[in-house]
């Protein structure tokens, strides 16, 4: 009796599960991206966002970048830069419309520049070549009268007060917001409901659940043509492993930032394809350049010879192969990533060798001897404190393995590396602590934007840049390098500006301003039922490129499209296995029921 009840209950449950499967089968073409980058309403708020990762899909910029980093048309169909670098003209795509059908006009660009200048502390400096002081705004500035003109509805002209090499990328790479939606709203205290949002990209937000998902639906007015997908969903995961499991189960279609250590496991999974995106992230050691440490002792890394010795003590290619797997990193040799371009010209300094510093332990030892650090009886010459984060981009298993191998390598030349790993906030606080610092070398990484300006600040010795939150945490101070950085900021000609930054890269190399380690390669995994995945540049500082670039998302298609359903959730239960489990469960439960039934009879 009891066994039959149990069996009946199980069959009912199975029926429910089956019904659920059918209910969840999809009629729409939905592409689900698994990501660990969280989203909150402020991320798509023009004046609150600290980055525009998610906003850029909805509000495309004037300029886009192709898969090798060269500028291509985005919302702007074309542009011209005056020879004096003071006038920038952008022509907006003639058929660009917002998702509510209204035209994208030059007024939207003016509105964006003004709104950001007046209200967004994080990005108002991007427009500083156009600004004038104004009381009453959050930032204390606004766009100067006449700084932006609109000869016609689709043309916007920027009139700079002084040349700015970074303006083209800063302004051209900025999301453009709709004036008719945002004008008059107090965005500093509220976020616009996603149901009211309009965008000019191929997809517009329809749902945002913080910590869970970001749902975008197709924009039929998209100027690049009707999007091929009905919906794009960013599903937020707490960690990459959970995202990978969801990819394997079919719940998501693409996962970014797959760790190199997981690549081998994925290689054997059917229906999953892997690809790599070009590196935009530079990982390196930052030496402390100050002469003394916090305890008053002499700082060895202030000596060029010590920095060179550290660099030469590491067989980096071997270390990185072990840590990340061969092919899943690019050996770094300078401060710029290989895909840094300015006006189509590559910033990369070809004269810097790869590896930057040859692996030579004997030479490293001689350098340390010359620097006044002979080996003691136990072989140790010095102890250095290396700090590193235990979370974030550099908190991965691969990076930890790399650090352990470097520790061994340095030990071989007599450097005892005291490795200190901290959670992210503590790590940054220690990295930016007021000098004298209590560490010798810090592990750091830089997600490089499309313009070389910020990378140049690695060698900028200005006081604000060396201090809290600056680029130059090690305190390198070379007046000539600082001058070059300032010159690069104010130079607009392609060849001239690129030459300045190549010079800066050379100085950074000669002075070992940092010890280059690797350029991170982003591994992307996706379900092979999709075609049209274009791999390009990895995740840069303020835009998703490559596989999740908005232009790419607009033209994805499925390899085999059924006429009825495309299940975006789990494909359906494996009924054979389920049946076996069900039979076993019934036997076990039945045995218990029989056992207790007999016991009950005996007791009574």
């Amino acid at each position: 009796m009891k066994i039959s009840y149990l069996l009946a209950a199980f069959l009912v449950a199975l029926t429910i599960v089956g019904t659920v499967q059918l209910a969840f089968a999809q009629q729409e073409k939905v592409f689900v991206i698994g990501t660990t980058t969280d989203i909150q309403p402020g991320d798509i708020n023009p004046v609150k966002a600290l980055n525009f990762y998610y906003a850029a899909i909805v509000f495309p910029e004037l300029i886009a970048w192709d898969k090798v980093g060269k500028e291509v048309p985005g919302l702007a169909q074309s542009w011209t830069i005056a020879p004096d670098g003071l006038t920038y003209t952008f022509n907006i795509q003639p058929n660009a419309k917002w998702s509510d059908g209204q035209d994208v006009t030059a007024d939207d660009v003016v509105f964006t520049a003004t709104l950001e200048s007046e209200s967004n502390p994080a990005f108002f400096s991007y427009w500083n070549s156009l600004q004038t002081a104004k009381t009453g705004t959050i930032t204390g500035v606004t766009i100067a009268p006449g700084a932006i003109t609109t000869p016609d509805v689709k043309t916007v002209v920027f009139h700079l007060q002084n040349p700015s090499g970074s303006f083209f990328t800063a302004a051209g790479g900025f999301p453009i917001f709709p004036k008719h939606v945002y004008e008059g709203l107090d965005l500093t205290t509220t976020n616009l409901d996603v149901s009211k949002m309009v965008g000019s990209g191929p997809y517009v937000p329809t749902e945002l659940v913080p910590g869970d998902r970001y749902v975008l639906s197709a924009n039929k007015y998209y100027w690049g043509g009707t999007p091929t997908l009905d919906k794009v969903i960013f599903k937020i995961f707490r960690d990459t492993t959970s995202a990978e499991i969801s990819l394997e189960s079919g719940a998501v279609d693409l996962v970014m930032n797959v760790p190199g250590t997981d690549v081998k496991a994925f290689s054997n999974v059917p229906d999953i394809q892997l690809g790599v995106e070009q590196p935009q992230i530079f990982a390196y050691f930052v030496p402390n350049f100050r002469p003394t440490l916090a305890d008053g002792s002499k700082n060895p890394t202030a000596d060029l010879r010590v920095r060179q010795a550290i660099a030469m003590a590491m067989n980096l290619s071997s270390i990185l192969d072990d840590a990340f797997g061969h092919g899943y990193y690019v050996l770094a040799n300078q401060i710029f990533v290989p895909n840094m371009y300015y006006l189509g010209k590559r910033v990369w300094n070809d004269s810097i060798p790869t590896p930057a510093y040859p692996y030579d332990r004997v030479a490293a030892g001689k350098l340390l001897d010359a620097a006044g650090y002979p080996a003691s009886s136990n072989g140790i010459r010095m102890q250095l404190t290396f700090i590193a984060p235990s979370a974030g981009r550099l908190g991965t298993v691969g990076v930890l393995r790399m650090m352990q191998l470097i520790q061994h390598a340095l030990r071989a030349v007599g450097i005892d590396m005291n490795m200190v790993m901290m959670e992210l906030a503590s790590y940054r606080a220690r990295y930016y602590m007021a000098p004298p610092k209590d560490w010798n070398v810090a592990l750091w990484s830089q997600s490089q934007s499309p313009d070389p300006t910020n990378v140049g600040y690695n060698v900028n010795g200005a006081s604000w840049n060396i201090g809290q939150g600056g680029w130059n945490g090690g305190g390198y101070n070379n007046p000539f390098a600082t001058y070059l950085v300032s010159l690069g900021d104010n130079t607009t000609g392609g060849d001239a500006r690129v030459g300045i930054y190549q010079r800066i890269a050379g100085i950074a190399y000669q002075d070992v301003v940092n010890i280059p380690l690797y350029y991170a390669i982003e591994v992307v995994a996706w379900n092979t039922k999709w075609q049209g995945i274009v791999l390009g540049l990895g995740n840069p500082s303020y835009d998703y490129w490559g596989a999740v670039k908005y232009q790419n998302l607009a033209q994805l298609t499925m390899v085999a499209q059924t006429t009825t359903t495309t299940a975006a959730e789990t494909p359906g239960p494996d009924y054979t296995t389920l049946g076996i489990i069900a039979v076993l469960a019934v036997i076990v439960v039945g045995a218990f029921a029989y056992y207790f039934g007999r016991r009950g009879k005996k007791a009574s």
């Binding site: 969840f24 402020g42 659940v209 913080p210 959970s242 992210l424 500082s541 975006a568 239960p573």
Partner: protein, 319 residues
């Protein structure tokens, strides 16, 4: 002293305790190295911009002024604006509570029920094969890391067998049958949490019942000729379950703290993950608000436990 007086006295003490705990939370959080500026102020933001952002969040105020604003917020419910969500801390937390309750309440009920049943089954035949099996079963899962168990369950049921979802609270592209969808997604995380926590109750019930069954009044009951079933369930069980009330009170106190690891593995957007993220990001308003809520819940659930204990056991008086 009667019950109302006891409650009033405990409530006063609770208020004082909340203020002390809240102050300690504030102090410890601000003493931790790194503040929110180290997390969200990247080098790309100019010093002038950083100063503006800090001013927007009130982080430019002296620490004592921030403390008094925090105390005021505890009383008025204005807990400030989250640095990362750009919404009030109250809104951020409130949006996560349903997810956590949805996960923890069924888990708690199942844990208690199954744990008690297992404990009873064990003690009915102490040291028998069944007792040893159930105890081993409980210890096995008790000693297992929850995140590992979670990944195993996901791998087996979501990847190999394809019968359950691979995480999340709802189907990514759900179009209907909301309740069933929620239940479907609850199965694995609730299973993981329940299996891990069953041992607490089952072993507690077992040891408590063994002690009770050794009492003189049980011997008297048997001597009077009552059936073993009657002796066990009517006379022994009620007293044997009393310690479970205390355990339950402790569990309720942790109800809203959520299961951080479980929420991470199953991508469940609850308070546990919010707590972890907010601490990592030094999102002071959200962290302090969460700690405040947890303090209240823990203190008052303990109070409730004491009251219920007194009601269940007439030997207990409120002195």
């Amino acid at each position: 002293m009667g019950l109302p007086t006891y409650i009033a006295k405990r409530a006063l003490v609770a208020i004082a305790l909340i203020i002390v705990v809240g102050s300690l939370n504030f102090a410890i959080l601000h003493l931790a190295p790194g503040g929110p500026e180290t997390v969200f102020l990247n080098p790309r933001i100019t010093p002038a911009a950083k100063a503006l952002i800090l001013k927007q969040f009130g982080l430019d105020k002296p620490i004592q002024e921030q403390y008094f604003l925090y105390l005021e917020g505890m009383v008025t419910g204005k807990w400030g604006l989250s640095y990362f969500y750009s919404e009030s801390a109250f809104t951020v937390i409130a949006s996560r509570i349903p997810a956590t309750l949805l996960l923890m309440v069924p888990s708690l009920i199942l844990t208690v029920v199954i744990g008690i049943v297992m404990g009873i089954l064990s003690v009915r035949r102490p040291y028998s094969l069944l007792d040893r099996f159930l105890s081993s079963f409980a210890f096995f899962f008790y000693s297992m890391p929850v995140f590992w168990l979670g990944f195993i369950l996901l791998t087996v049921f979501a990847v190999f067998v394809h019968v359950l979802p691979a995480g999340g609270m709802t189907s990514i592209t759900a179009t209907g049958f909301g309740i069933i969808d929620y239940l479907w997604h609850l199965i694995l995380p609730v299973t993981a949490l329940t299996l891990i926590n069953i041992a607490n109750f089952s072993l507690l019930v077992r040891s408590s019942m063994i002690e009770v069954l050794d009492q003189n009044y049980i011997m008297t009951a048997r001597g009077k000729g009552l059936s073993e079933r009657l002796v066990f369930y009517r006379h022994a069980l009620r007293n044997g379950l009393l310690p479970t009330v205390t355990m339950l009170g402790l569990f309720v106190g942790s109800l809203l703290t959520g299961a951080i690891l479980t929420e991470t593995v199953f991508s469940w957007p609850g308070l546990g993950s919010l707590t972890f993220d907010s601490i990592s990001r030094r999102d002071y308003p959200v962290v302090l608000a969460l700690f405040f809520i947890f303090s209240i819940l823990t203190i008052f659930s303990n109070l409730l436990t004491d009251i219920v204990y007194g009601l269940l056991d007439p030997r207990i008086t409120y002195d």
